[in-house]
């Protein structure tokens, strides 16, 4: 057996009284793709910052190829060993791809940058690793997957052969994920080792050979993926057996009144969409990215404006292109990206949760503080948000709890139509359960729910799932569909769109 490429032993990292990592261990063998999984707050990110030399561990050792890790200040030494591709881009958006690859080490001629030399070297580098990206493109214009490949190529050019991918698939659709995996396998064959962090266990089984599980800041287990059935992996992560819940099929009575009635809706992202959602019905929207599913859902929330067609909510026409008017008409929504649209990170949980219902908490635009606190506390209880109270800033919360705050706001106005876009993106297993159980509660209250998601788990709870392809509804699957059926129709395999 070959010597480990990376070996971390007994790593401890404390922030004040709390141990972010109490017993971190990791052994990565050269040439493998190693998965690092754990719920939010399990210590994955902390371990990554230590492995990439951004922080020193309080205790424990990190070794690369048997050698002790370089000192923190020696950035060049770290760069030649390990690199991390984060969800947040670490490229300069306004500069070209070529310049980003060689930032601060541009090839010089007589002390000045040789742009020709830069282009040539960038093209060579991209070619070597088979990255099909135009070196002259503005980096801001790249797709997420290409940007990730550029960052990987840059890391490889420093000599690093150990790449940490921090939730690389979070912003990709199924097809892009497949491409990323293809490229990962190719790079792996040429000797690159990956540490792969993901919330999607399916992906772990697809690309990784070994998996390490962290829980509550401790190492739990490391095992070959093949010896780790899904149930055992979930158990290791959760510390308890979450029974794969049987989805009880329940019929929405055909007689339930239609709450959302959409006729012939058209915009630049989709066309001629007809859609009805009954009281207490949960309808899923699925499709690859660019299928128009997000724009369709955003049309009901006022974030996207259709050019033609009508939507009626409870008999009354739903106004378009005006978020305020949509809220007033009885739409509650969880927007696509909680960082960009969901939360004001500097504000408290209470403020965030009640942001869209302030008019109910006082008169003439004034907000009653006590009423707000009371209202927020009630929401925190209802959604089981783990927090010290409504006055804690949202920025303190983990991904799962932050998403619950977004959900709390969507529910705060007691909506008649609840639109959820990627409601469980970047959220751990347990929070996911809790978020999705809100959908069931809403359904029982007679709310119409529209769920847009790439996650089969989210869609499984829907009474039916509509599939969009190139802006058209191409299929409808009643509850009880099989994974491969739905995926086939999302990917456009079973029809000729």
């Amino acid at each position: 057996m070959s010597a480990p490429l990376v070996e971390a032993q007994g790593v401890v990292k404390r922030y004040g009284p709390t141990a972010a990592l109490a017993d971190g261990r990791l052994t990565v063998l050269p040439g493998e793709s190693h998965a690092l999984v754990g719920r939010n707050g399990a210590g994955k990110s902390t371990l990554v910052t230590i492995l990439t030399g951004l922080q020193a561990p309080d205790e424990g050792t990190v070794r690369f190829d048997g050698e002790p890790a370089p000192p923190l200040a020696d950035r060049d030494a770290w760069r030649s060993k390990v690199a991390c591709v984060y969800q947040k881009p670490t490229v300069v958006p306004e500069l070209t791809v070529a310049e980003n690859l060689f930032i601060n080490r541009q090839p010089l001629r007589r002390g000045f940058i040789s742009w020709r030399g830069l282009r040539t070297r960038a093209a060579e580098l991209l070619d070597t690793w088979d990255v099909r990206v135009d070196p002259e493109a503005r980096t801001a214009d790249l797709k997420v997957e290409d940007r990730q490949m550029v960052e990987i190529a840059r890391a490889l050019s420093f000599g690093a052969r150990f790449i940490v991918l921090d939730e690389p698939t979070a912003q990709l659709d199924k097809r892009e994920i497949e491409r990323l995996f293809g490229r990962m396998r190719a790079l792996q064959d040429s000797g690159v080792t990956f540490l792969f962090i993901s919330h999607h266990l399916q992906e772990v089984y697809e690309v990784c050979q070994t998996v390490t599980v962290l829980r509550d800041a401790r190492w739990i287990t490391t095992a070959p993926v093949a010896d780790m059935p899904r149930a055992a992996l979930i158990e290791a992560m959760a510390g308890e057996t979450i029974a794969e819940q049987a989805i009880q099929l329940r019929e929405v009575e055909d007689t339930a009144p239609v709450l959302l009635d959409v006729r012939d809706l058209t915009s630049d992202a989709y066309e001629n969409v007809d859609l009805t959602v009954r009281r207490g019905e949960v309808v899923g929207l699925a499709g690859i990215s660019g299928s128009g599913k997000i724009e369709l859902a955003e049309s009901f929330t006022g974030l996207h404006t259709p050019t033609n067609g009508t939507a009626r909510l409870d008999g009354r026409p739903l106004p378009f292109g005006d978020v305020q008017a949509s809220l007033r008409a009885g739409v509650g929504f969880v927007p696509r990206d909680r960082h960009a649209q969901g939360l004001v990170f500097g504000m408290t949980i209470g403020d965030n949760a009640t942001l869209s219902v302030l008019d109910r908490l006082g008169r003439y635009g004034f907000v009653g503080t006590d009423r707000k606190r009371g209202f927020a506390t009630e929401l925190i209880d209802r959604l089981d948000i783990h927090t010290e109270g409504p006055d804690q800033p949202v920025s303190d919360l983990s991904g799962g709890n932050a998403q619950k705050v977004v959900m709390a706001r969507a529910l705060a106005s007691d909506p008649r139509l609840l639109v959820l876009i990627n409601p469980t993106a970047g959220v751990d297993v347990k929070s996911k359960e809790s978020l999705l159980s809100r959908v069931d509660t809403a359904r029982e209250d007679g709310t119409a729910v529209l769920v847009v998601s790439d996650e089969l788990d989210d869609l499984r709870r829907c009474d039916r799932v509509l599939v969009l392809f190139h802006g058209r509804v191409v299929a409808e699957h009643p509850a009880g569909w099989r994974d491969h059926e739905l995926i086939a129709s999302i990917e456009g395999v079973d029809h000729h769109g």
Binding site: V92, E94, L108, I113, A186
Partner: protein
Amino acid sequence: MADTQAPPVKPVSVPNVRSARAVLLRRARELALVPALLLLLVLGALLNDAFFTEATLISILASSAALAMVVLAESLVLITGKFDLSLESMVGIAPAVAALLVLPAAQSGWGTELPAPVALLAIPLVGAAIGAFNGILVVKVKLNAFIVTLAMLIILRGLLVGATKGKTLFDMPDSFFSLATTTFLHIPMSVWLAAAAFAVAGLVLKYHRVGRSLYAIGGNLEAARAAGIRVDRVRLGVYIVAGVLASIGGLMYTGYVGAIGANQGENMIFTVFAAAVIGGISLDGGRGTMFGALTGVLLLGVVKTMLTMAQVPSFWIDAIYGGIILLALMIARVTTGRAQD
């Protein structure tokens, strides 16, 4: 898939066509104001026979030189994603300190009566010192750049008024005015100097690692840091350079006006920001070129001269000038097709 070598048949032409278009597009953004500038020149010539003459054109350049230096200084700071409002006060205080050093006490000087060359040398030093002070507060102490430099703007203006007791300084040695009075090829030295400063800044920003690092810092601070750029050192340096450039701009202003009023440079910062933003410098940092900033300066210079020549009543000039700045911003927004953030 395992093969890391490029496949034999490679679609080389595709990226080339794409990149050619991308380059053209980027250039187009840089040159966005040129048609507007040409249009204004033609318009000016049609409206007034005296407009398209050597004398008028040179006077546009001469009156724009000081502004150009300050816009250059501000643009460098803006590209790194910071602010410096106090530059306008440096325009006043730097040459004033030099004047106070040479003037006898009878003419409200400090009575040191230093030789003129030594006093002139004090000008960039004062600029550098103030720039360094701003830079340390903003970069090292991490105070908010907007408020720090706003406070400095007020402090420096107050110091100037205090030191001169509100009086105008004149009767300085001729060398104080020589940037404006000596000419080469009929064009004042201040114009040549400003042009040279823009050319050097443009070259450094395009062809030197330090110059490129300004864009990296303004575009994505963390990425710049991760690439090994000494972010704080570069930003501090930019504040110092900006101080030097603005103080030289102040000397040009003094030469152009012929005296140093206690209000020299007052309210200039608004025009400076207008010229920079019209010229495509982003207030968020990381974006903009020296050529763009220069066209912004020239555009405003041409407009101002046109308004004067059209004999617009002086009470109305500011209102019209402000309106034109707003219009220019809108035109720049439409032609570049980009949000100006």
